[in-house]
Symmetry: D2
Subunit: 269 residues, 4 copies
């Protein structure tokens, strides 16, 4: 049976498209993290470019590239090489290379990371969730990656504290740190999370016994910070530890307002 | 020209459907509030029931019922009668009655309400936004309404305060109050908002000069409340002022945790 | 060290709260599915009731109940008993019973399920994702469960098809089937997904080669359905296979409109 | 009474912040559109930069800049000058200039626009809703604006149509067109919406009688388009009509898949 390959025809309008593909695709993925294979269910976006003279792309080949990179058949490959989300993304790109002509390819993987933390007073283990996203962008032979972590913390207003004898308003804040850099740069999501989490008035914890809660409260009052302070501290620490284009955005869900306040900045290191 | 009316045919499977219609429809609406016509852009959901022997409904008649109830032609009617969201919803139902056979009809309108408040110290005017939703449900001749308001406030933990010499954790909290009652019951969204907003540790304001911010901070510390306290206070006040099925849900976006805490309850008055 | 237990004090306002607890808590969970332990990262909501004479609950005990039920220490228990999301939810409730007095307890787990399907023509394996939610509700000694699956399919308008010589509008539709029943009822999420997925004009697939795409297109045209038809078919099949309170909601993201259409119904079997 | 102005102090960490301010602020706004004053309830984001030697900004001054620009006192100004969302944004910036030192200021306004369209066969009026966002960015004396419209349309697969004798899969698609350009460029949101809406397989309508629905169905089949075709057509038309940085993103909510497909591209004209 022969099918029409409409995608290969020349389109009426000649314009290069930079990113064409699939998005919001949820599937099972596997990763070898410190010697142990983990399964998780991330969301994928995979795109390639389309030149002026081609009408479209073969979307199913992008889907196959994802599923093949994760299939049982490559359990061995997982053990050897998928040791990080960016290795996984690169494995998808390597399969696209065999299936679909392109000049630029991108693979984005969005998922959650759970890390073990120790609570500040009782010393218990608390499992902390983080939103993370990794993108690998190939243009000709150049490989870049984008690493993004989102962490929930808090801000304690120094202005209200100075004007109210130590009383102040406190609220949840959410910060995103993004680093765009060469694929080969050695940056872990865990280190990025640490940079962000340590820059709030206090880290937050899923499990807090009363003595831990007290320690967090005391830490917050000793460490009042504007949303601006949190953004500056994340940027300064990130500039010391990572190389690339660094972007920081902190949003504070003000407890005294119905709206949010933000501080955002960026730098190239 | 004659069209097939597939909707009128008997379906293969005989099951009554209770709610069939259109949702997430955004359009312009008008209301006469205290003698002045206001326009706004709410989101509509309009449904009717479908008996066992009918395949479907004529969706476009529901859309027409909305747009006719809001059209220029009825500017006069707006001046006379659309004095509240529930009057507007009823006006839509009255038009459906002329267009489409049904036993049960529902109209839901979701929008924002902006109310003028006075800040606690400087006495400035602050415009405060609230999410509101109104549903009118007609079954045979019985008319009920559901009124729902969502208000942003805060909680100040009394437990941490008792254990930390007056220091504590504070956070934004969001509360929803719903009353389901006879259509004729005289309940305003403004009164419901007042019930909720006065039950937090402090109300929140869009505009706060430093002296106002100080007043809010002082009020919060004098008024520590668990999310449970907020829910109880909303319920108790609502039971005094409104008649019907009352439902309260309060969510506190904890500043010391990555998750939220909730308190939810309900009562029939 | 002794702490104030503010939660145990009598509150000023005496109102029973039906649901107090934690929500949007994301953590690692494990399940023994057909003899193999799977890890995943669901979202939890855990609540208990609070009597009139108690100010609040000890939130950290709910968190501990989750993490203990999932901890390494209970790997053996996982192998034996956590064979479904509701068994996992029950395991959390059993731990709450040892930690916190209550009359009513609820545990809700929201996650994604990935199932293997075979594509209709080429016979390839396609991994399909589904949103699922399971709640277990204990009131005194009575145990109920709520099972909810959300499936992405499509509708093909029979009315437009009849009026346009076989041409019609087609669109993505999303359906949710919920069954509320005794804890002991033997209902699998996989069976519920099958009921929903088989009731659209066609099932959808993550991977479709051209010959599969053709098969799906042909199936859609041979099987035109209003959103009403999909809802009726899900309800009818669910009534045959499951016992309990059945609730069906189908939303069609119309390709010819900017709004959606819905069909919703419910029955007690 | 004198307050501490913590914001004016030098921070410990010296880093320039590019965007500090308020976001998700919902309030009433007024605009003079073709000689008539309209009220609506947009969402605002307003930011300024913070130099290395300042700890923070006075957030309340940004809020005042919004509310003053919209207050009753400036009804006359509204009649004269707020004839577009960007004029409104500029009016806010002009007030910030009197209140808070800065080098860079941004005002973003997100709202809905309702336009009157005529249905294709019956010639009825249908009110169509669009998401729009306008940003005005001032850096030193340079003024730029960003205009963004999001439109709901559809795609009709040419590949499936070629392989199935005219049968194909159809689905809702959503496209965003953004133009970043000099403040003085004369571009209307209505024109941008027209560019996008005319590039789908067919425009969509809120109200469609059967004869209109037939016309839309016929138009879709005569006009099959990949998501790539829609993106190319929007870009080509936008390049002809607008000057600036043009960005196009089209997402197709595939009726045969559970994931979406996208086509995205950009150009400088």
């Amino acid at each position: 049976m022969r099918f029409y390959e409409t995608q290969e025809e020349p389109p009426d309008i000649k314009e290069r498209l930079h990113r064409v593909g699939i998005t919001n695709l949820r599937t099972v993925a596997k990763i070898n993290w410190k010697g142990r294979v983990y399964t998780f269910i991330p969301t994928f976006e995979v795109t390639i470019d389309v030149p002026e003279d081609k009408k479209g792309i073969h979307m199913s080949r992008l889907v196959e590239s994802i599923t093949e990179a994760m299939s049982e058949a490559v359990e061995e490959e997982v053990m050897l090489s998928h040791t990080s989300l960016e290795e996984l993304a690169l494995a998808v790109i390597r399969r696209i290379e065999k299936k679909h002509r392109h000049r630029r390819a991108e693979v984005w993987i969005r998922t959650h990371l759970i890390l073990e933390k120790t609570t500040p007073a009782s010393g218990r283990t608390s499992l902390e969730p983080y939103d993370v996203e990794v993108g690998v962008i190939k243009e000709y032979e150049k490989l870049e990656k984008v690493l993004r972590v989102t962490v929930i913390g808090n801000t304690v207003c120094p202005h209200a504290m100075a004007n109210n004898d130590g009383r102040t308003h406190i609220q949840r804040a959410v910060a995103t740190l993004e680093v765009r850099t060469d694929f080969g740069e050695d940056i872990t999501l865990e280190d990025m999370i640490e940079v962000v989490e340590s820059s709030f008035s206090s880290p937050t914890y899923t499990l807090l016994k009363t003595m831990d809660e007290n320690a967090v409260v005391q830490k917050m009052y000793e460490n009042p910070k504007f949303v601006e302070d949190v953004a500056r501290e994340i940027l300064a620490k990130a500039k010391e530890r990572f190389r690339g284009k660094i972007h920081v955005k902190v949003t504070s869900h003000e407890s005294i307002h119905k709206h949010d306040v933000i501080a955002e900045t960026w730098a190239l290191v």
